[in-house]
């Protein structure tokens, strides 16, 4: 009897052992992967190590200063079911969190079945520490960073902003997003119940984050600030609503200021009324440059040796090309008759630049294909019109018509000699002027001075620039532009002992497919420096208001003069001693 019981017990034990064995087989062999994954999920911690976005610096004289920085901020998330409303009232819904709250206490606790409620954004580190130390139930803090702008709106349309996904948009933030963003790292490690990373375990992975580059711009914040101030004052004085200006070193291509008004607050970029204010009009907005292009046409002729400032032609006040009558803007009787190229530039005579195109083509009586081809080559290859300038920003190429293909090429090119029927950016125009006045070199415009490494500025290497027109052509053009500015000099605003030249451009605007007679955009581009030396700066100004006539002499020239006088003082340029 006893033996039977033992046998029965044995059988029972074998059966239980068998069941366990079968279960173990299923768990360890058949369902192995699933259980391993579940175990790993519980005891391993996988965190992205966020790369720090690079900061942006401007120059303050020779010292870099941060103008776009990062600030650690937290997002507060509440689980209404687990949270204690009383506890959170003072801690999260208090007065000190007023600016950060995106949901009120009432909204959060109205429906307690919700498990996730985003309550506050951009909470500072001190407040986050206070919340963390209070250890409230059902509250999480999510770490993040936000861009801060110590200089406020200064250079906003140049700098751009970073959107909620952490991607740079517009300006430097957008164009240099890859360099600024960096690469996130990874931390995968065994963790205990408190989610503390443990060093035990064979599969721990730590890939450090690669922080973004701290980019230093060539922009000098003092020049930028003053250019923006001057533009703002003049816009108010003249009643205009759009203005842009750029200041460069013509010898190196460094951009010292790039201003576009109206601006916006990049810290609150979502509050703008129109995305139009994000556009950097200096590089992204092609327009018809008008008479500033005459300097390029005359420089082409001078460089080819077919004309000089004293070359004379007969000015009728108009020209007829391909059946189209092209008039001069200035119709004074005193300008009719034999006229020099210098006088044509001084008075911005369209007939003078058309005559130059004829000479470039080798026939003083008509425009030839050869002339069109040569002008196209100089415009695009040597002066860079209609081409990427190479500046480290978003660029719009514009449009320069083909010299051969298409109808009405003579008429098109006649218009192009004085900057109509073509689209270029301000960046292209001022870069071309740099070549005209710096001794004939084509230098790449640049907005990047270098990178901050370990708190020190490591400067970017710059090329010498290719000699595209002769030094003599450049000298002649400086003289011609000086002569032109002298003609239009506004009541002696240029101080004595300095060599300042420039050219106006008043461009008609195309509305509904044809040139409007009531809407004009004013531009002025010029250079300045000590007499007898190469120019130290070039400045280009553009000002307008939709639906209004804005002439260059009245509106753009005074702005140039004020910026030019500021630059003379800021760069501490010495006047030529007699």
């Amino acid at each position: 009897m006893a033996e039977d019981r033992i046998k029965f017990l044995k059988l029972g034990l074998y059966f239980v052992a068998g069941v366990i064995m079968v279960r173990l087989f299923f768990v360890q062999i058949i369902q192995n992967k699933m259980w391993v994954a579940k175990a790993e999920e519980q005891h391993t911690m996988e965190n992205k190590i966020l790369a720090k976005r690079g900061e942006i610096y401007m120059m303050d004289g020779s010292e870099p200063v941060a103008v776009v920085m990062n600030e650690k901020v937290y997002t507060v998330v509440v689980d209404p079911m687990a949270a204690d409303e009383e506890e959170l009232r003072g801690l999260i819904f208090g007065e000190d969190m007023k600016e950060n709250l995106v949901a009120s206490e009432e909204e959060v606790f109205r429906d307690r079945t919700r498990r996730y409620f985003l309550v506050a954004r951009n909470v500072g580190t001190q407040k986050a520490k206070q919340i963390r130390e209070a250890e409230p139930a059902g509250v999480w803090l999510k770490e993040g960073t936000k861009r801060v702008y110590p200089e406020g709106e200064l250079g906003a349309r140049l700098l751009g902003f970073v959107n909620a996904e952490g991607e740079g948009q517009y300006g430097v933030e957008g164009a240099l997003n890859k360099e600024l963003k960096g690469t996130d790292g990874l931390l995968k490690t065994v963790a205990d119940v408190n989610r503390v990373a443990l060093s035990i375990g064979n599969d721990n992975v730590k890939i450090p984050a690669k922080d973004g580059e701290d980019v230093v711009l060539t922009i000098d914040r003092n020049v930028q600030n003053n250019v923006e101030r001057i533009l703002k004052e003049k816009m108010e004085e003249f009643g205009k609503d759009q203005a842009s200006a750029v200041v460069m070193n013509p010898n190196t291509g460094e951009i010292l200021a790039m201003a576009n008004l109206p601006g916006y607050d990049p810290a609150n970029y979502a509050e703008v009324e129109s995305a139009d204010v994000f556009i950097n009009r200096v590089t992204e907005d092609p327009y018809e440059p008008a008479s500033v292009c005459k300097a390029f046409t005359f420089a082409t002729g001078v460089d080819l040796g077919v004309l000089g400032p004293e070359t004379t032609y007969y000015n009728n006040g108009y020209e007829v090309i391909d059946g189209w009558k092209i008039n001069n803007a200035s119709q004074y009787d005193s300008l009719l008759g034999p006229t020099s190229i210098q006088k044509a530039l001084n008075w911005s005579l369209n007939t003078g630049s058309i005559y130059a195109l004829k000479l470039i083509g080798g026939d003083a009586n008509r425009i030839t294909e050869e002339g069109r081809k040569k002008l196209y080559e100089y415009y695009t290859e040597k002066f860079g019109l209609g081409k990427e300038t190479g500046v480290e920003l978003y660029e719009n190429l514009g449009l320069i018509g083909d010299p051969v293909e298409g109808d009405g090429r003579d008429s098109l090119y006649a218009n192009m000699t004085f900057g109509q029927n073509m689209l270029v950016t301000m960046m292209q125009v001022i870069s071309g002027y740099n070549t005209l006045v710096n001794g004939g070199k084509k230098v790449t415009p640049s907005v990047v001075e270098g990178e901050m490494v370990g708190g020190e500025l490591v400067k970017k290497e710059r090329g010498e620039g290719e000699q595209v027109i002769s030094e003599e052509t450049s000298r002649v053009m400086r003289e011609m532009l000086w002569g032109t500015r002298t003609t239009y000099r506004a009541n002696g605003t240029d101080p004595a002992g300095y060599y300042i030249g420039g050219k106006t451009g008043t461009a008609q605007v195309i509305r509904d497919g044809k040139y409007s007679m009531d809407e004009w955009v004013a531009t002025y581009v010029g250079f300045g420096g000590t007499e007898g030396e190469l120019p130290e700066y070039t400045v280009m100004v553009r000002i307008w208001k939709d639906g209004e006539t804005t002439s260059a002499e009245t509106y753009a020239l005074p702005i140039f003069s004020e910026i030019s006088n500021y630059m003379i003082n800021y760069l501490k340029l010495r006047p030529k001693q007699e």
Partner: protein, 105 residues
Amino acid sequence: MRESSSAWVRNRNTVRYTPKSLGSVSQTVILGVLVLVVGLIYVTQGTKATGFDYELSKVESEIAELEAKKEDLAVERARLTSIASNNQSTVAANMEVAEVSGYAE
């Protein structure tokens, strides 16, 4: 006569050698104790390593906190030295506009 009795001889100092061995229970207990000791050593070392991890985690948190403070201070410094705040300072507000001066000839 048993073989062992031959060792008993009058007036001789003799020692009786009796083979001694541990019983199976003792062996099991000793093995168990050894395993326990090794286990304790392992657990002690493991805990020690985990203790370092906690220490490390605490130090890393402190570093992160200090870095955040440093960043906050850098931002504050940049704000205080910005052109906008300089222009709005009481010093700037009390400045007088420079007037043209005559120079002695």
